[in-house]
Amino acid sequence: MIPPVRMEPSVPSAVPSREALALLRILVVAGEGGSASGLLQNLRQWADDGRLEIDTAPDLPRAVRQLSGQRWDVVLAVLGEHPDDDLSWWVDTLRGATGSPRLIAVAQAPSMGLVLRAEKSGVLDVLALPLRREELVRALERVRSVVSETAVPLPLVEPHAVGPYALVGQSAAMLDVYKLLARVAGSSATVLVQGESGTGKEVAARAIHMNGPHASGAFVAVNCAAIPENLLESELFGHEKGAFTGAVTRKIGRFEQAGNGTLFLDEIADMSLALQAKILRAVQEREIERVGGSETIPVDVRLIAATNRDLKEAIKQGRFREDLYYRLAVVTIRLPTLGERGDDLVLLTAYYVRLFAQRYGKKIQAISDRALGLLRAHAWVGNVRELRNVIERAVIVATDETLRAEHLPDELRGEEATLADRPQGGLLTLAEAEARHIARVLAHTNGQIGAAAEILGIHRNTLTRKMKEYGL
């Protein structure tokens, strides 16, 4: 039922995209109450090879004015007494600037925390005052290397359309999914789709619906986690007018809306136990009652549920009903993460670039080698949804026929290894390595110190002290 994805053979042909030795336009911005003249003099002295065009702005507001009027490649900004705040303002400011200029931040004795935050935000470099020639020149060289990206043609992808979405991918993991989807679609069996956030659970559910016996009916999706608990029951089963405060009219619930079609209950693990009992009854008895109503209404729907949680674990913790689980998981489909799908990332990228290029009236035919490298290196926590989001934003800001690294979000650019440029040949000091590792673990635990200390195997007081020491 689901045709395999066809792809034209893609032999990447490298074409130079811009002149490697292009002129760099640099805007130098003084810190609050400071002057940029010394900095400007140094910059001209150290890096004047005829390929730099330098201008200054006395402060952030005037810099914003200059940035809105012209295109700049680099902003060299001196951070003030509150470097963290200044840095986040600069990152925010440059987001809306013409041509996405890169930021080189200059600060008095920048802390390790500032450097790590800057890296995460896509800041090209953080330099300490007084400026050292070799550091500045190295940073500017990195901008030049950015300018000389190579374009790689995007492969052609013919996806299988599923409603407003599409199934794209040829990896072994996805081929297994396609086979299972084909087998299950023909029946009316209840299906449980499992997979991490953004792996495409709703797309899979739509594919089952469109290729099954209920295809002529509606496909109704309900996101159980998005809807406040107190409203979810009436959303699912409907309500009579006046059933509760705010029930201003009679409402037909999603079960009824999906009559003779498919009801897709996404993030089902987020439902309260009381509501789970009502769902169980609807599944077993195939009838419902509206909130505030006394009439029993028969419903004929195919139910597909999805979750990114481990339902068996939730059952053990008493947060999910076992009887409902067995009712839902007649057939279980597990979707792979983007990381498990190998080169599907390239196909998905190509598919989304074309989709959004068409939507936003752009003619994008290629992606730069560096941009593709960044996409490959990124840990896609949000899987395909995150990739789709990143590509949509990139397409919006792209101005020519190639999607470049500069079009990707700061977070991705910030992940690019900068260590090779370091004087020690990319080797970290022990303190730097420790600070980076602590920052990574803290990000993993969402800033929870207790959990981070546990992972690191140190006492929380020790962790707090180290965080302070590194300015994290």
Binding site: V64, K201, I227, D270
Partner: protein, 430 residues
Amino acid sequence: MTGPPPVRVEKALALMPELEALAPLRALLVSIARPDEATVWSSSGPYLTLGKRGVHPDELRRRMPQAFQRITEHLQALFKAYVEALECQQRADAAGVVLALLGAGRLEEEVGRHTQARTWYEVALRVAETLQDRRPEVEVLRALGYVCVALGEHAASARHFQRSLALAEAEFDQAGATAASEGLGDVAVAQGQWGGAQAWYSRGLRLAEAASDAPHAGRLERQLGVLARKQRDLAAAGEFLRRARERFEAAGPPDEMARVLNEQGRLDAQLGRYTAASAAYREALAWAQRAPRDARLELSIRLNLAELDLEAGRLLEAEAELRRAEQVAIGGHVLRPLAQIYTLMGRLRGAQGDETGFVFFEQAIELAKAVERSVATEAQVYHAYGLFRSRLGQQDEARAYLERARELFDSLGEAVERERVEAELRALSA
């Protein structure tokens, strides 16, 4: 990640009684709430609201000393102000007493304790009324006028400003008279009486110009620009804003410059000049950064920027800006604009034809009732909610929500807004 999952804010707040003593704890809880990364990318991620953010009790416990420190500092400052008042009393310096009590009221206002601030000002007023020199009384009355505006007590506010103006004029206190005129204009704006506001601001401007009080004159010109824009006299609005900008550009306070540019952005947006509006908002943000941190000002600019993007169909940018505004509001515990943020989020989902966007209106209504306690905001949310339902073809629900909005605007005597809703209702019936 190890450890139990975070507790949702909606559940955490349900466990906390509405006690004054717990307000700092509530503020702390909200300010540290955040979505976890997996939730952000889940299919419910786009519908995240404050209530669905998570809080770790462990983190709350860890941050409690910071909250205690802030409370202690606040109390210390209040006690110090009182002791200063007492010392002045001892020296028979009644004007000093008034000044110290005013200072205490302002400290309360800074942390959003308007009712407590009013109590301080009332004590200060009793002392000021006994003085030969009426200027302290002029100042206290003005403070009372503003705190009453913040509390939504417009009639009381107007009375205080009127008295302040009369006393200032009697004392030939030109600065006091200018400020009182501005206050009266602000009350009129809060009540939707634009003609009255224009008269008061114009009078204030004449006084400020006569006294060569440039900062005050610039502020009044901005206010007149706002009024002119609201009354669709866009050429006059542009002229007022240009003059205000000239006054502040050279040496004015950066927050005033940010306010003028924020208003310039709104004017450009109304004129359909998207690029100019966007540039004005971005420059306004830059000026705001130079001023002492004012989350309300930043939020106002960001919301205008988001609305501009929304109206220009730049939905991704609008959403990103709204999420940044949400973070500023939650992190800075400026919760009042959240209802507006979620209303815009709901409008954005409506523009995408996304029915689940109703969750934002539901959250906005809850916030308007529980946090902002503003009928006007609630009415605006219902208005937008009705339009959202209408856009999705749910006419019965649309009508019900618009009727609720009309009812609320009626209760406020808001004729202009009421008429807009009435027009929507007529269009629905047609």
